[in-house]
């Protein structure tokens, strides 16, 4: 850790955090929040959390910003001023925030030292993960092996949470029948929306490479930062890029709503299915070592590595479908007729 770099990044982070909540325009707030996420990403790389940084870059800075744009497009970028009780609410919020801060500052005395090797978090299971991952699973990226193998249950339900979030967005926004679609104000026009040849051409040429990169991230997650979550989000982002540069309908032509929901299901099902397969082969749920019985030419250690790849693929499919689904629903206000 280089503390000078840390200081610079942290200062910028705080400035961005202040700016994003103070600025009087939602579009600007979204952009500053994107910058905030990228700075976070730098901070995490600097602290050695490369997988977290990768996820933040693709999710926080990429997809979150686009979701904010989509929401602003369908609503308004105006930020009004509270008419009455303005000072009261501000004072209340300030007192609450300061009290929370005070409690945390008092608690800070008991926190483990920053950068300490002997923090409680690094003493119990963590040394086992670090020393045994290569021996147990032949996967050098510990984050992947902990994510997909040692704590596979946890990740399975995280994937289920993503899936549920996708379903919730559909349940809240989607309007199927004509009469349900109460009259909406016209979407807020961010740009004139004329077909820009250069942007379209560049986007069209970029999309295959982005998708190839996403597949690489999924497949190479065992040896480098990356994995199912990051790869899935990048795959989804490639479709969102198409939607933004062309039209929302282009993406619907490739990935229809039916396919999206189906792929979300299939992704979670692949994950759970591999778990049940292990159960059928006589091992515990998500204990991939038993997969060596059915996989050709693999010992128990490699079977765990391959099992992880299987569930990472499931995660990638589910995350991709859900990210696209959330974007399409928000940007078209659940009507799937027009959008960014």
């Amino acid at each position: 850790m280089i503390w000078q770099l840390d200081f610079c990044v942290l200062t910028l982070i705080v400035i961005c955090a202040f700016a994003t909540i103070m600025v009087k325009d939602l579009l600007s707030a979204a952009i500053i929040f994107g910058a905030y996420s990228f700075l976070m990403c730098l901070l995490w790389t600097e602290m050695g959390a490369v997988d977290v940084a990768f996820t933040e870059a693709s999710v926080g800075a990429g997809v979150s910003t686009v979701l904010f744009f989509a929401a602003v497009y369908q609503t308004t970028r105006r930020v009004g001023v509270r008419k009455s009780g303005r000072m009261l609410s501000k004072a209340f919020a300030l007192v609450a925030a300061l009290l929370t801060g005070l409690v945390l500052v008092i608690a800070e005395a008991d926190f483990p030292g920053f950068g300490d090797i002997f923090t409680p978090a690094s003493l119990h299971v963590s040394p086992y993960y670090i020393t045994q991952t290569l021996h147990d699973t032949n996967v050098p990226n510990m984050v992947t092996s902990v994510l997909a193998d040692y704590r596979g249950f946890d990740t399975m339900f995280e994937t289920a949470v993503i899936f549920t979030a996708g379903l919730a967005v559909i349940a809240i926004l989607r309007r199927f029948k004509k009469e349900d679609r109460c009259d909406l104000p016209e979407p807020y026009v961010i740009s004139a929306g004329y077909p820009d040849t250069i942007i379209r051409f560049v986007a069209r040429q970029l999309v295959p490479f982005i998708q190839l990169f996403a597949l690489y991230v999924v497949a190479h997650g065992h040896h480098s930062p990356g994995g199912g979550f990051q790869g899935g989000v990048i795959l989804g982002a490639s479709f969102i890029l198409l939607a933004i540069s062309y039209d929302f309908k282009v993406v619907l032509g490739i990935m229809s709503e039916r396919w999206n929901v189906l792929l979300g299901n299939i992704g979670v099902l692949i994950y759970a299915g591999i778990g049940f397969l292990c159960l059928l082969l006589g091992a515990n749920f998500l204990d991939y070592s038993m997969l060596s019985k059915i996989l050709p030419a693999t010992d128990k250690i490699m079977a765990r590595s391959h099992g992880m790849l299987g569930i990472e693929i499931g995660v990638a499919i589910a995350v991709m479908a859900i990210v696209i689904s959330i974007y399409l629903n928000i940007v078209s206000h659940g009507k799937y007729d027009k959008g960014l």
Binding site: M1, L10, M47, G48, A49, T131, T133, M142, V169
Partner: protein, 127 residues
């Protein structure tokens, strides 16, 4: 003074948490509240990752030669950052985009009904 500098990550995490909480409570605009929530989430992620950080440690990927089982050297625990908080926070970030999507969907639903994202204007229409 030394404690102040040594634990700067914790101070920033507390500050970010306060900013997020303040935005969630004080801001009139619903999307601003959602941004506040996201800042709050990242504050907690900063805290977790800071706990996992180790002085002079490398990234949690074991350097290895080519080929199957090429690593023989003993692995020093102090040499690698703690992977456990990284895993927990990685999934937390992905879940945060899910919660963000749901939150924005609710904002859109509110806007569809009340044609406003301002808290006080919605309150007025509700009464």
């Amino acid at each position: 003074m030394h404690a102040l500098i040594a634990d700067y990550n914790y101070w920033i995490y507390i500050l970010l948490m306060m900013i997020g909480l303040y935005a969630m409570l004080a801001k009139n605009n619903l999307v601003k509240k959602v941004i506040g929530m996201s800042i709050f989430q990242t504050a907690i992620i900063v805290f977790y990752v800071s706990i996992g950080a180790k002085e002079h440690a490398s990234i949690p990927i074991i350097a290895h030669g080519s080929g199957h089982g090429a690593v023989e050297a003993a692995i020093d625990v102090a040499h690698y950052a703690n992977p456990l908080p990284h895993v927990l926070m990685l999934t937390a970030i992905v879940v945060s985009v899910g919660t963000l999507g749901v939150a924005l969907a609710i904002c859109l639903g509110i806007h569809r009904r009340y044609n406003s994202l301002e808290e006080d204007e919605i309150q007025e229409q509700l009464q």
